[in-house]
Amino acid sequence: MNTLNTDANIAKPDDFYARLLALHEGKSKSESDAINARLVLILCNHIGDSEVLEQAFELACEN
């Protein structure tokens, strides 16, 4: 079974985080929601593997 990578995998975490937030600067709530939804779809497709996606879904739903 393929495993979701939950180790740190992003080279420059602060740069990534700032870039992610910058996507939403000056956007309305509905524009931001739309960007987030598109981003989720794009990344899910990139991963593709349903086992990995299922693990990601579970992790996302944990509080």
């Binding site: 509905s30 929601d33 739309a34 939804a37 598109r38 989720v40 779809l41 794009i42 497709n45």
Partner: protein
């Protein structure tokens, strides 16, 4: 009570007094079908071709007006062909391959069904339902002329049913007054509002989804031309509503379906001025003749079981789906395909009654697949929550640029036949390297064979299909004949791809409804006997 609920397009079975009406006691019939629509008539053809006496009762005198079901799928046409009327349907129907999807004003993408070569019938034809029904009734008349024991009685309305131990007793109303008949087996093909289902107090359960469609058939005037394509709008900017569908039909008629929500004033919406208001906004000033319009409501649900002792349910009487995916009439025809041979064998005493329970099991499985697909389509077309709308719109936006999002766009998953995986009648799938498309439980896939079509050589009875190997021409298993069709896959790549895969030889046991019952790499009489017994419910 005899009351006309709809206008007729073709008065093809006018009322005639039957000798049954002058008998002192009720006449017993082996099979009575209630409902002379496409499903009831198709079942009569199936039984009539088996020489099983069958009586169809309908409370009208012919085929209802209005295009209604317009999209008939390959499997449906193959079944009709088995009944001898697939070709006239194909000849009259419109074949289409190109579809376009719009969101508001913008085109999202287009798709091509890219027909696979080597099939007698295309993936779909568009054909007004009255033509489809007329082909079936004309075939019924031709079979009658050849002596098939089929009878159809118009203006015969079933008023009451009494379920007895080994038959059902019916009170039938006619223009000449009431009479009684009895049926060893009663099949309800009386539509979504099945009066018979109500009389028996049987429920309809499942996921409920309610919406309505304003359907308009129009004939374009002047130079306005639309191509032979399927155009689907999400949230059309030309008017209120969740979706609009434009489809070409024969006779230069276009079908427009406006999804207008559940809570609408039916009478108001059906006024010609209001129908035209929607059409004008949609067509932008083109001139057209309004041929027919109707409001259609639907729900997604089914009966718990399609068999209740001596009474069987088929088509919309047994299950209803949303129209997305053309799964209504198409699945009803698959019900008939499944039921006809089973009822025939049971009536002839060649198979146990439990075989009819497998009709319910297999077709409930099919109905659930259709309900699942059509529910998913409706959830995409009419998102139920804020977040599902956000994702739906994200898919439509991405689909314009990114190919990956296009398979996520769901404007209806077009009907493909049900495969009875793990079905109760399935024998061994013992063909190593055999293709998945023709696995045990699947309907046969057509292929060209020696200038003819493979499927045309099957159906009606059990058959063996041998490829690059031999089996006896005819076998007999306790009164059930099994004939053999032997073909070579040499120089026939389509046949090889669809039936051999990585195998060198193959032997398929084919049911009378052209579904695969079992398959092996070589013939073994003991194995075939065992699989045949499994396939007819003998234990």
């Amino acid at each position: 009570m005899l009351q006309d609920r709809y206008q007729l397009a073709h008065k093809v079975y006018p009322y005639e007094r039957s000798p049954d009406q002058d008998r002192d006691s009720a006449v017993r019939h082996p099979v009575v079908i209630v409902g002379g629509g496409p499903i009831g008539v198709a079942l009569a053809l199936d039984l009539g071709q088996q020489n099983i006496p069958v009586l169809v009762l309908d409370d009208h005198e012919g085929i209802g007006l209005g295009s209604r079901a317009i999209c008939f799928a390959k499997r449906c046409l193959e079944i009709a062909d088995r009944y001898g009327c697939g070709e006239p349907m194909l000849e009259k129907g419109v074949v289409w391959n190109l579809g376009k999807v719009f969101h508001k004003d913008a085109k999202v993408f287009e798709f091509n069904l890219l027909p696979e070569s080597g099939h007698q019938f295309p993936a779909f034809i568009n054909l007004q339902q009255p033509y489809f029904e007329l082909c079936l009734v004309e075939r019924l008349r031709a079979l009658q002329a050849e002596g098939a024991p089929i009878e159809i009685r118009g203006k015969n309305s079933v008023e009451a049913v009494d379920v007895r131990n080994d038959h059902a007793a019916l009170d039938v109303m006619t223009p000449d007054g009431p009479y009684k008949i009895e049926a060893d087996w009663l099949v309800a093909c009386d539509g979504a509002n099945s009066p018979l289902r109500d009389m028996l107090g049987l429920g309809f359960t499942g996921k409920v989804f309610q919406d309505s469609f304003l359907i308009a058939d129009i004939r374009m005037k002047g130079d306005a031309e639309f191509p032979t394509e399927r155009w689907f709008w999400f949230e059309p900017s030309h008017g209120e509503g969740a979706s609009t569908l434009l489809h070409k039909q024969p006779d230069d008629i276009w079908r427009v379906d406006f999804q207008i929500g559940w809570d609408v004033d039916r009478t108001e919406e059906l006024k010609e001025a209001n129908v035209r208001r929607r059409l004008d906004a949609f067509l932008g000033g083109a001139s057209y003749e309004l041929v027919w319009s109707s409001i259609y409501t639907f729900q997604c649900k089914r009966m718990d079981s399609f068999r209740h002792d001596r009474i069987l349910f088929a088509g919309d009487a047994a299950h209803q789906v949303s129209p997305f995916g053309a799964r209504g009439a198409n699945s009803g025809m698959q019900d008939v395909d499944n039921l006809g041979w089973k009822l025939g064998l049971v009536i002839q005493g060649l198979a146990p009654e439990v075989l009819l329970d497998t009709y319910s099991e297999e077709r409930v499985y099919g109905a659930d697949e259709n309900i699942l697909n059509s529910t998913r389509s409706t959830d995409f077309i009419t998102p139920k929550t804020e977040i599902s709308k956000i994702f739906r719109d994200a898919v439509l936006t991405l689909a314009r640029k990114a190919k990956f999002a296009r398979p996520l766009v769901n404007s209806g998953r077009l009907s493909i036949p049900c495969i009875y995986d793990d079905g109760p009648l399935n024998g061994p799938d013992a063909l190593e390297g055999g293709p998945a498309v023709t696995r045990v439980g699947a309907p046969m896939v057509d292929a060209p064979v020696d200038g003819a079509w493979l499927l045309g050589q099957f159906g009606g009875g059990f058959c063996l299909l041998t490829i690059n190997t031999e089996a006896p021409e005819i076998l007999d298993f306790g009164g059930i004949p099994v004939s053999c069709v032997s073909v070579s896959a040499h120089d026939n790549p389509e046949l090889g791809e669809r039936y051999l895969g990585a195998a060198k030889t193959a032997v398929y046991l084919i049911r009378p409804d052209q579904h695969v019952a079992a398959r092996w790499d070589s013939f073994d009489e003991t194995e075939v006997r065992k699989a045949l017994h499994t396939a007819i419910g003998r234990t």
